[in-house]
Symmetry: C2
Subunit: 902 residues, 2 copies
Amino acid sequence: MAKKMVYFFGDVKAEGNAKMKELLGGKGANLAEMSKLGILVPPGFTITTEVCTHFMNTPGKYPKGLEGEVKTALQRVEKIMGSRFGDTKNPLLFSVRSGARISMPGMMESVLNIGLTSATIPGIIAGAGNERFVYDAYRRLITMYSDVVMEKAAGIEPEEGMGIRQQLEREMRKAKSAKGVKDDTELDVDDLKKLVNIFKRKVKQVLKKDFPDDPYDQLWGAISAVFHSWNGKRAVAYRRIENIPADWGTAVNIQTMVFGNMGDNSATGVAFTRDPATGENKFYGEFLVNAQGEDVVAGIRTPQAINEVSKTDASKHLPSLQELMPKLYNQLAKIRTKLEKHYRDMQDVEFTIQDGKLFMLQTRVGKRNGVAAVRMAVEMCQGRLISKEEAIMRVKPEQLDELLHPMLDPKAEKKAEKLAGGLPAGPGGGIGQIVFTADDAEAWADKGKQVVLVRDETSPEDVHGMRAAQAILTAKGGMTSHAALVARGWGKCCIVGCGALNIDSAKKVLSVNGKNLREGDWISLNGTKGIVYGGKVGLVAVDPEKNLHYKKLMSWADKVRRLGIRTNADNPQDARMARKFGAQGIGLCRTEHMFFGPDRITAMRRMILADDEAGRKKALKKLLPLQRKDFTGIFKVMDGLPVTIRTLDPPLHEFLPNDEASQREMAKEMGVSAKAIKDKVQSLHELNPMLGHRGCRLGITYPEITAMQVQAIMEAACRVAKQGVKVHPEIMIPLIGTKAELENQRKVAVDTAKAVLKKAGVRVKYLVGTMIEIPRAALTANEVAEVAEFFSFGTNDLTQMTFGYSRDDAGKFLPDYLSKNILPAEPFQTLDQEGVGQLVDMGIKRGRSSRPDLKVGICGEHGGDPKSIEFCHKVKMNYVSCSPYRVPIARLAAAQAAVTEK
Amino acid sequence: MAKKMVYFFGDVKAEGNAKMKELLGGKGANLAEMSKLGILVPPGFTITTEVCTHFMNTPGKYPKGLEGEVKTALQRVEKIMGSRFGDTKNPLLFSVRSGARISMPGMMESVLNIGLTSATIPGIIAGAGNERFVYDAYRRLITMYSDVVMEKAAGIEPEEGMGIRQQLEREMRKAKSAKGVKDDTELDVDDLKKLVNIFKRKVKQVLKKDFPDDPYDQLWGAISAVFHSWNGKRAVAYRRIENIPADWGTAVNIQTMVFGNMGDNSATGVAFTRDPATGENKFYGEFLVNAQGEDVVAGIRTPQAINEVSKTDASKHLPSLQELMPKLYNQLAKIRTKLEKHYRDMQDVEFTIQDGKLFMLQTRVGKRNGVAAVRMAVEMCQGRLISKEEAIMRVKPEQLDELLHPMLDPKAEKKAEKLAGGLPAGPGGGIGQIVFTADDAEAWADKGKQVVLVRDETSPEDVHGMRAAQAILTAKGGMTSHAALVARGWGKCCIVGCGALNIDSAKKVLSVNGKNLREGDWISLNGTKGIVYGGKVGLVAVDPEKNLHYKKLMSWADKVRRLGIRTNADNPQDARMARKFGAQGIGLCRTEHMFFGPDRITAMRRMILADDEAGRKKALKKLLPLQRKDFTGIFKVMDGLPVTIRTLDPPLHEFLPNDEASQREMAKEMGVSAKAIKDKVQSLHELNPMLGHRGCRLGITYPEITAMQVQAIMEAACRVAKQGVKVHPEIMIPLIGTKAELENQRKVAVDTAKAVLKKAGVRVKYLVGTMIEIPRAALTANEVAEVAEFFSFGTNDLTQMTFGYSRDDAGKFLPDYLSKNILPAEPFQTLDQEGVGQLVDMGIKRGRSSRPDLKVGICGEHGGDPKSIEFCHKVKMNYVSCSPYRVPIARLAAAQAAVTEK
């Protein structure tokens, strides 16, 4: 490695800066930056992430020359501090901390007080004037170091409860109980001296090695341990969840120790330059006098507020930093202003006051919730700190979720009885009485009751009950299970895969962790976090329209974005909601859900049971007025905006009952033999229904179905057009794989539409287009586009077929694939740009090669996923379509894509 | 249309020639050619196929100028014949016949005797000197014309049995019964005169139009009718089966009528320049004195042989043409020599002798069976008539099937009792006693009995019984059903989808068309044609190695082809057979069938039931020696050739029984509870198993399975290598969709292989590669190739996923798709070059972009399909792999691809 490996900072100078996060990690880059800004930081130096990568690739080996660079930087620190590392008179101590490109809080290791040895301890005591403090620090060093360096980094895996840290902690407890005291602080210097010796013996006995008494041994041991911790279990798991590449590596920061626990003139604290919970522009923080950083985090003592506005119920009786140390507070407040102005974003800082001197230990962009993110972005822009485009980029699109869904009252939630955890499939809060069947859900809801539908898993037959319920809870299934998909689509609170539930639907009992709940019992769900509570926790309503910051931000986003945003909606309620959220049309109106209603399913089933076209037509005739009514309602709500309606997609067997009891019931209702129904179910049975007789294949075998649907669409359109509604129907044929299929269905549609329009004597413009969801359709898109007036990418199916994954079954191996890094992300949530994306890009380019003005959108789940939306922007789609609750998210994501492109 | 539309021929001149088949159709082009060659043909002219296309595109309208061109040509004919069309003294008569680019025998219409009107009849009678002959011709004209022109071409669809032809035939029968005679010939001239009047009245009454009495009306009516017949039902159906594009159109040939029925100095006949049944180089044909062409075809009179060598048992007592009319025979024999020399292929000719004068009516390339095709090709080449490359092109690859499979004795077959028909899924003949279960099949076969396995349909659990049976017969399923696929793979006789069968497996009774057959009854199957016979029809064995013409042809093919030919074989027997047939390696050795044997299935099931890795490893340990033995056998047979072995592919649930009885039995056998098995079956259940937990996904979840298989492969390889066998194992990972998957499995394979080789102390070179069968793998082939040493395209799965068709379920809509012309061919039989082919081409190019020497093959069903093989050649694969019996076919197809490319 010819590159520079060590970067010094301190004393208003630094070799690095804030832009070098990739090389120095976030912490290192910001320490350098603060130092350059003239803010006092304990001097030190950063070893780059490239050294980490080298250390991982040639396990345990450092690049040549590193030792020399470290020595040079260390000498520079020694010069500033006027003391030497390992010196017996006036020794320096160091902290050794990790620091990746982006913050991975608590996932990697740190070691403090490096440099305490039998030789340096007397010098430290002389300097600090506090023998107990030094031995306490030494005790901490041994504990930390033996755990992090000697055990973890060495790859030793002790039995449960037999880790060196736990063994040392046991010794500590023994010492306290021998003395009859409770708190660590009650051990005096002699106790600690004895304990230190016991600790050292224990380390030698357990780890077969002496605790190192050479400061350089300690230093290099700690550096290696931090690098090793990049591949520690916790860090690897965290990276997987956060999609952080393994090859980034961490930097290591070696920094002079400062102590907030050197007496009442010392303190340590954390602060945010604005309130991270509300976004309000006020300096917010807390601190502890005579304490170390870990004491603030540990929560043993009640932290004090740094100023009046930061005071809480718990801290209001305690003096603030402003009151206690007004001069230092003013220094801190000035640093706050300087940092925010410099970084142009809210900062999360750590500081230590050592003997009346203020040191900044860290600054980083502060985490914030959705509400705060929106407010800060808008106010910073209005305060001319950032531009509108920057404001747009400041809010993670998903954070808007918090502004849209009613939530469980956070205060009530803290006191509630937690029953179990599951996967957060539908955000927000949901409260209701337990019911176990979809029919009960509907019946109870009809009586005005609030219910939570609890099922092992859900199927399309449960949809009416899911709709009626306040929230949905299932024992099985993952984030892409039926319940999850449907709930997310509606923005309904939902928790799935809650394995702790034992559901006996027959007896209507739910047992969870030894507790039995029955039908009618209340439960509350936090769908954002995936937590189930017993009883009735309160809800807090949210109306984004009342949030002026949100409205302002979205208006900026709408101006900047190029992508149109439509919604997936199958009924007027959803359409209305989506329109309120800013949808510019319907991108996918599925018609199959419409057939599950009790007034329709019978006609649908009669059609399926019919032996010939005449029989089917007779049954379809009954469905026609119902479908027409569905579309009339939707068209009215979407006045002036396009509505894309997909013809029947699922295989017919989905409309028939599977179990014999229901079949018998159906037979009775329809006046046919149970055998006839069983036979039909059998004849329709498919081994791989996903690849079976569905989509346009149905319409080709039974053109009368397509004809009835188009008739209903066009009759509804004519009807509302006569009432003055501006109606733009777009008829969409699903599952097209060849041009000839679309030609066939287009002819049925156009012939039907022409006849309806002629009869009604109205002019209504309509389009006929297709889903692109079969790989072959994308590959031959130039041909398909010759007969398609628009494309809508159905990336759910396209992902299924491009990967060969059944979404219903992939749960058996996808988790394994993610944990083994075989896939970077769940491909049904985030579009696989490399594979599926190729087909999308190819489909658009080829489609437009034969029809340059081809309108192109997406209506799969990915249409609401910000990363995928960015891709849709890049490949020049006209719009994305997503569920109503994701419309604002998509608007913001589309704007961000446009900004990023610039 | 500025182009010439009418081409004259006759009198040793012609405007067209044999190369103009696209424009003039086969018949027209050859009539022109013969005329130019100085062979006497009745003069006439051809209207081009382009006129047909025009007529179809602007329905019923002819291009401008056609009438003029027809008139000019007609006048030229009149001049040669010295008579005029419609003349009252010496009138000309015409035949009007279709003629497409390639022969579509009987699929389109002809009208003869055009020009017979009340005005011309006296002149004809005067010329022919035979009044009865003329009225008989007129009767025939009215029947043909009213049917073909006035009814069919007019689009009139009469009720069943009420067509005009049928009504006229009824009148004919009435006339005969009134007179008390049986044969048409017994009606005298007066009877016919009366009948003609009755016919005319009937036509007027039924079709509301007079029979046209103007010769030009007749002529143009007939021309239009022939053009219309291009889109007639029969023609459309035939085109679909034969893959003839609809836009080719047909030409129309208008030719002077000559009559073979003008007395004993007249005759008509057909001949082949070589024997079409054996290929022997002898002039072969038959004729009838005083007859028309249709009489020869109708088979009412026994045709006479044209010479000694053509005599059969039926005709040996009749004089030959050579004996009867030696001069004319010599003329004909000279024409034979001339035509074969000129056309350089066996010709099928029609001739008519009118009053001692020989006219050739048609010559075309003669159809021939496989045996004859091979012999002719080789002998013509040896006789320097054609080149080796031409010889290669002369045999349809599929025709080789006839040389490979034992067949039912054709003579015995004629006398056998036909029970039912089905789809010809596996060629050749099969005879045996009926059994109804796979176990019975095996048990009976073990006792030395020949059995035919009869099932509703088959599943992987039946494989052992299918193997043991002589032939397989199923009531359900199509050409791609399990039974069909397995049988074709083995080259086993098989008929599927035999809907007339009613099988009661429990009672062991098969009823078919009212007849009951029981277990042990004999049946015989003609798998080439799909016919089931009762009883024991004899078999005729076939050994291609004894066929020297075949051996010669294949040696030429092998020299010319670029593609390697491998085989799909899972056991030593198949491998040996394929090697005998010329296979140059194994391209696909599936390992899953190996686990169904009774000695293995238990261990396999134990592995599946195991709760943890340890349990699985224990069970796999039992499978290891068995697998090793499998591979040892195969390696020995394939000494010196590569063997590609695919690791486990199907989902695990395929190895467990589905029905409760078998589950209970399995539980008993394995000493676990039936519930445990039922639970496992349920937990493994998948909604879309084709897209589920299978292929490399299994190997990634359970690396120990891959490891066991690789260990078995490499241990077997080491073992045989020590015995001096040259072994080239190629380990193939199925269902790869991402590079990371292959990396994962490659590591398992390489680690295992290294360990085995080290332990054995042997050097064996091996490769690790992958199937390309997931669209995503083709799209990202450049990445996949970074870790794959070879690609093998699994076009079965690739077709499933590219189209989104489940092969198991597509039977519900594919027939409809083919009949509606939505698909040009069954995509699982013939590779869809436009869609799936794009992915194949892309996969190869991208794969080789990152690994230029990447070895590429195909192992799907398409590897044995000649059209698909041509594609594989074009996209520069290294080899194709197919079932053993298709190896010779593939060798020839590959050679043809190479010749075509030149």
